[in-house]
């Protein structure tokens, strides 16, 4: 494995972690949005708030991680992607500002009107941001982002069947993962009613996500031949793992057994991301720029890996501490 390959794997690890942690925070925003009026939605919103407040900023850093690895290890890929996908990525960046600010402001505001306004901003941008990020990925996967400064079409590079499909899938997958996590949170909080509430929604979200994933494969067959070709061959094991995990989660949730659903739900989403990675291998930008061609200076690539090693040593124990304190209820809001 070359240093460039290793950096590409690192990038995919970052994308996976962002999808599993940051994605769940976006998904929680989806459930916040659909929780109903102020009184009806009060309890689910309180659970969502408690679950993501201590962790969303840390989870958000995985996106920065992906961007930094991309521009350090694969500079031309970063420049090509960001300049061609100017529209969806500008909208995603603005959505990230609105999501973070809306959530942080709601947390420290009182007064129903103010909280509703900030909450609406948080929730709506939580749905739009993953859509545009997904649309950008769909554009890349379908080979519509060539190498160069804004070399692809500003609109059709992402507003196409693959982009729309992956954008919708991203929204659904975020909602699905979040819901599976929230079942566990409700369970630990000893709130059986809320557990049932999120269980019903997890089943629905799981079915929708599965259906979108299947439809997505059909769209890719028409729209992204290179990625499709490898998806049904080299990447097939990942596709199958995702399907098996997804079905297992549905079965467990339907029987009301939350144990293990978190891990399986995360596995279903992670497997899709790795299926995509394998499917577009060895390309960074399918059929125009390979991982090797996009790679920056060799010395820098080595340092990217070293810095990542330092990060693992420093960040992982701290992050585990945070997540354990959070999950153990030691950082929960006073009631």
């Amino acid at each position: 494995m070359s240093a460039a390959d290793a950096c590409a794997v690192l990038l995919w690890v970052g994308v996976t972690l962002y999808a599993l942690f940051g994605g769940a925070d976006f998904g929680a925003g989806f459930w916040d949005l659909t929780a109903g009026g102020a009184e009806r939605g009060e309890r689910p919103r309180a659970l969502i708030d408690r679950a993501i407040a201590p962790v969303w900023e840390a989870n958000h850093v995985w996106l920065i991680f992906c961007l930094v690895v991309l521009w350090t290890a694969f500079p031309p890929a970063y420049a090509s992607i960001l300049s061609t996908l100017f529209i969806p990525l500008t909208l995603a960046a603005l959505g990230i500002v609105l999501r973070g600010a809306g959530f942080a402001f709601r947390k420290v505001s009182v007064g129903l009107g103010t909280r509703r306004a900030y909450g609406a901003i948080f929730a709506v941008s939580s749905v739009l941001t993953p859509f545009f990020l997904g649309a950008a990925l769909g554009g890349i996967a379908s080979g519509r982002v060539p190498e160069g400064n804004a070399a692809g079409d500003a609109v059709t590079s992402w507003a196409n069947p693959s982009g729309i499909m992956v954008g919708a899938l991203a929204v659904a997958a975020c909602a699905y993962v979040a819901c599976v996590y929230l079942i566990g949170d409700a369970h630990r909080a000893g709130d059986a009613e809320l557990e049932g509430y999120f269980r019903r929604r997890a089943l629905a979200a799981g079915l929708v996500t599965g259906a979108l994933a299947l439809a997505g494969i059909l769209v890719l067959r028409e729209d992204a031949s290179y990625v499709y070709g490898r998806l049904i061959r080299e990447a097939l094991p990942f596709v199958l793992v995702s399907a098996v995990c997804g079905i297992a989660v549905l079965a467990l949730v339907a029987r009301g057994r939350p144990r293990g659903t978190r891990l399986l739900g995360a596995g279903a989403v992670a497997a899709v991301i790795w299926a995509w990675g394998v499917a577009q291998w060895p390309y960074m930008l399918p059929e125009t720029l390979t991982v090797e061609q996009a790679a920056g200076d060799g010395g820098t690539l080595t340092w990217v890996l070293v810095v990542f090693g330092i990060a693992v040593v420093l960040v992982v124990p701290s992050l585990v501490l945070l997540l354990r304190l959070d999950q153990g209820g030691r950082l929960e809001e006073e009631s």
Binding site: V61, L82, A104, V108, D297
Partner: protein, 479 residues
Amino acid sequence: MNSLTMLAGDAPAALTPARMQMGLTLGVHIILVPLGVVFPLMMLLANYLGLRRNDADYMRLAERWSKVAAVTFAVGAVTGTVLSFEMGLLWPGLFARFGDVIGIAFALEGIFFFLEAIFISIYLFGWRRLSPWAHFWSGVPIPLVGLLGALMVVSANSWMNQPGGFSIDSAGNVTDVDVWSAIFNDAVAYEFPHMYVAAFICAGFLVASVYAVGMLRGRHDRHHRLGFLLPFTLAAIAVPIQLFIGDFAARSVFQDQPIKFAAMELNTTTGPDKPEILLGHLDEDHEVSGGFAIPGLASILSDPSTGTSTVVTGLESVPPDERPSRGAVNTVHLAWDIMVGMGTALAGLSLWFAVVWWRRRHRLAEMRWFLRAAVIAPIAAYMALESGWIVTEVGRQPWVVYEILKTQDAVTDAAPGLVWASLTAVIVLYTALAVGTVLVIRGMTRRWRGPGLDDAAIPYGPREGPAQRPDTPDPGGAP
């Protein structure tokens, strides 16, 4: 590609909105940086004093500051994210070529930022849930990683001023990257301390001013006095240190970037015995117009050992396309004057504070003119900070990487209309963000003064206001 416009020698049409958007988003982010870097330190100082002396006033300050720090950290996190998108959205020409040279600095910054986010969360949500000293120690990494993170970001900026750690081969490709020489480039030794100490001045005066307002309105309790004294003392100590660092930085720019220095000093021609020009501008004939000239002072300050015989390089020593435009020169010179002027005014305020402290004749609450000055001090501090960055960034033009890559060759080839649209969206969004941040923090401080109302724990909880009808379909009101 806009090769046609490039051949005609014009700047690409997207350059203006791209520079405006970058300037706006950086200018907003920089407001939050001092709070991110220094607020945690003040909060921990108060926490430490509170625990050590069993002092409830200090503990209350620490807790409230941590809640405000959480809001400003969140806003800083999202505005910082926008910047990491903009590097590619607006400047693909810079990152396609040099991403692997300066990227490691950002990667390290990413790690430090990650740690900062983690420990801020633990500290913030750990109040009364962790044991007091464990809670204090959970916050100790925050100012440390804040310092290192700021070092990495400023290092990336100073690399643009003094690029190093790579070679360019005959084909124009970047080779032989040495990331450590890039990080510890020639400008980081003066840019970083200048910014780090500026953070103390801005954050210290800003927090102190809130309590100065309270004291002027008749709130003379110990809470207000401590809340004023702790941050104000930090800032007042930082100001004289900053005068020395600033002088060192200016003389380094004189040596490293003579054209930027010429713009700062409004100096058109190379020669000795150059005057220091206060205010004034270059007129349409590129002659200095207006202002007050102090004979010989620019030469003396540039190198005191050679005095007035120090030769100072002028703008006209390089071709027009390798120096800032007339408008840029005037901007840089005005910004330079503002920075130095505000710095001098703040030095006066710090001296006043030292005298007050030394004589101990009056109670702080009685010194209304001093408190009034303290109220407006953060305005001066932030004007100096923003002006300083304008000097650095506009003074580097037309280069984005000094003497290697021009800004106009780095800008996106996206349609100029798109960039203008994105600039408009950013202006609207950032205005809303600024209003929201101020309203939210003001709401928090009002609640703290109110009768026992603490932060609401449940979103949309009905107990804070009249409940909505249960069948209201829209969850959060119209967006």
